[in-house]
């Protein structure tokens, strides 16, 4: 609860900050302070101290898992602000508003990480989506940005329609919006519920950009200003997956057998399309968009498996994926040219950037000693523990092998090809230090994932 209310308040605060101090650099620091506050508040709640005592009527429930995920999301946001805060302000005149919107998104994030009623899910998802439509289009003069925004908006609201239809059918079948109240599986599944589940899965898959509902992702990620792409592709995506898992675990867990095949199909499709399509990309930004689809495929495994291993894995995956991708985008923003060749000679001109991005890429590729390895490892174990649809694991592994191809193309450009001029704009030493710290976290989680996971058992 702390997080929800505080983030909403902080959103408002940022609005006024915008009015007060236009778009000065200091805006960034207010935002950073805000996130810190958020982290503290959330941590306190995690530790059992809740500022507000509101009767939520069972529409929300704050589990350690959800709160821990909020932690991950907020920390990622902090790093994101620290690394790319100034770039956020360079997108347009009203930087403060962008921060405000992002705080609203965080509010939505902390709602979907704790919802218990489909109504809250709906509202949470909308609170996440609407600001993103704006952020996608925030580079107003840029046609690509416009296009991204409109595409995102149209398809987003279409999927909202599907989701509402699903909710309605579920309601028709069960007579309630509460996940707890549905007591599915107790009775034989009715077509109403069945269709409802399908529609819910489809709309969630859409939000999580899982194939074949992923088509918006590359265009939107490619078109939006890179800073916001970074935000959308990491924190938001992870949040959607938490909601996804929560919905299907608490809501339809008992009916797993009836939808597992569908989940498996979506997972496999996502893995294959994401990885294979990424192979041929020419722009790193777009490649990262596809790679985010590919990663989504792996996260889907948690939904498919629906077991503790999967939950832990999803948490770890969110952390690993967010850290690596945010770092990578932070570097990408500094590049003059977003194509692969744009990275040529980075190692010579900016060794720190090259080193850290290498670590991030290795993590995304799931190489041992990086957090990426263990997140993939947990997912695979989770999938194998279910003891069925082993082919899915094989698909996953093959795709992981393919993913190496496009991740390492970047490494090749950075280290083994050379360019006369420095490929980046000037970067400060603080930025580098921060990148190093982030990379350090990635490696730390890669050596001892327990640091994060053991908190779950608290």
């Amino acid at each position: 609860m702390n997080a929800i209310i505080l983030s909403a308040v902080l959103g408002v605060v940022m609005m006024y900050t915008g009015i007060a101090m236009k778009n000065r650099p200091s805006v960034k620091y207010v935002a950073i302070a805000g996130v810190l506050l958020l982290i503290v508040a959330n941590w306190l709640e995690f530790a059992g101290v809740s500022f507000f005592s509101i009767d939520v009527k069972g529409m929300l429930s704050f589990t350690s898992f959800g709160l821990l995920f909020n932690m991950v999301a907020f920390v990622s946001t902090l790093i994101y602000f620290l690394l790319s805060g100034s770039d956020v302000q360079q997108v347009g005149k009203n930087g403060a508003d962008y921060f405000a919107l992002m705080f609203f998104v965080l509010c939505g994030v902390s709602i979907v990480s704790s919802f218990q009623s489909l109504l809250m899910l709906f509202i949470g998802i909308e609170i996440i989506s609407i600001p993103l439509y704006i952020l996608a289009g925030s580079d107003k003069r840029n046609l690509k940005s416009n296009e991204a925004s409109l595409k995102y908006f149209l398809m987003g609201s279409f999927s909202t329609g599907l989701m509402l239809m699903g909710i309605t059918l579920l309601y028709g079948g069960t007579g309630t919006f509460y996940l707890s109240g549905m007591n599915l599986g107790g009775v034989v599944m009715t077509p109403l519920v069945g269709l409802g589940i399908v529609l819910m899965m489809i709309s969630m898959a859409f939000k999580a950009s899982a194939a074949p509902f992923h088509f918006w992702t590359p265009d939107v990620y490619d078109g939006s200003p890179t800073v916001f792409t970074s935000f959308m592709a990491t924190i938001v995506k992870a949040a959607v997956f938490i909601a996804f898992l929560r919905l299907f675990e608490n809501g339809f867990g008992k009916l797993q057998s009836t939808w597992q095949l569908m989940a498996a199909m979506i997972t496999a499709l996502t893995l294959i399309i994401g990885n294979v399509t990424a192979v041929f990309q020419q722009s790193v930004k777009r490649m990262l968009a596809y790679s985010s689809i590919a990663q989504a495929g792996f996260m889907m495994l948690a939904v498919f498996a629906l077991n503790t291993m999967g939950k832990q894995g999803l948490l770890l995956y969110s952390a690993a994926y967010c850290l690596a991708t945010i770092g990578l985008f932070a570097v990408l923003i500094k590049m003059k040219d977003y194509t692969f060749d744009g990275f040529n000679g980075l190692a010579r001109h900016q060794p720190v950037l090259a080193l850290t991005s290498t670590i991030f890429l290795l993590s995304l590729a799931g190489i041992p000693l990086t957090a990426g390895f263990f997140s993939k490892y947990y997912m695979l174990v989770a999938a194998m523990k279910t003891g069925q649809m082993f082919w899915l694991v094989i698909v996953g592994v093959v795709c992981a092998a393919i993913s190496v191809y496009y991740y390492f193309r970047v490494i090749q450009s950075m280290y083994f090809k050379d360019a006369a001029v420095t490929p980046t704009v000037a970067v400060g030493s603080g930025f580098k230090a921060l990148l190093l710290i982030t990379a350090g976290m990635v490696i730390l989680l890669g050596i001892k994932p327990g640091l994060l996971l053991n908190l779950m058992s608290i």
Partner: protein
């Protein structure tokens, strides 16, 4: 056939017809007007179902506010029929068939299920009255009510950010 049923069929027919007109009329302005008609029909259904509050809100919010907004925008851009040249037939048919099959599949799935015998109570039941709804809303649903304010805030900020000249 009671008056209710007559009304029901009439409104249903109206809703479907004007919905189709929304999709197929060439001129955007006409589409808007047909959509308003759909809303009226639906409101009518609400009244039959004795959900008076929603019926009114539907008219006020949708037909009143939203559609007017649409109308403004369309007028603003003075889009008339010519602005949309005929798109390629193939996609048109594909879309129609896809949508149609969607409907068929859902109906086929739902036509004879546990709901077959169920009735939706018409003309009776006062949960749709504003007083009851208000009670429930501010007793049980206060939290989402509050939170939806965040939604509005963000929408507002968004509209401002997008709309502001710079």
């Amino acid at each position: 056939m009671s008056i209710t049923e007559v009304l029901f069929w009439f409104l249903t027919a109206l809703a479907l017809l004007s919905a189709l007109m929304v999709v197929f009329s060439r001129n955007p302005v006409h589409s808007v007007l047909w959509l308003i008609a759909v809303f009226f029909a639906i409101s009518g259904h609400y009244i039959i179902l004795n959900a008076q509050f929603l019926a009114i809100v539907n008219l006020i919010v949708y037909a009143g506010a939203i559609m007017v907004l649409f109308l403004f925008v369309i007028m603003l851009m003075n889009l008339n029929a010519e602005t949309e040249p005929q798109k390629n037939r193939w996609l048109w048919w594909a879309g129609t068939i896809a949508g149609g099959s969607l409907m068929l599949v859902i109906i086929a799935a739902l036509k004879d299920t546990e709901t077959k015998t169920q009735m939706a109570l018409v003309k009776g039941g006062d949960i749709g009255l504003i007083q009851n709804l208000g009670m429930v809303l501010f007793k049980d649903y206060v939290l989402p009510f509050e939170i939806s304010s965040v939604l509005f805030l963000s929408a507002m900020v968004g509209a401002v950010v997008i709309g502001k000249k710079d």
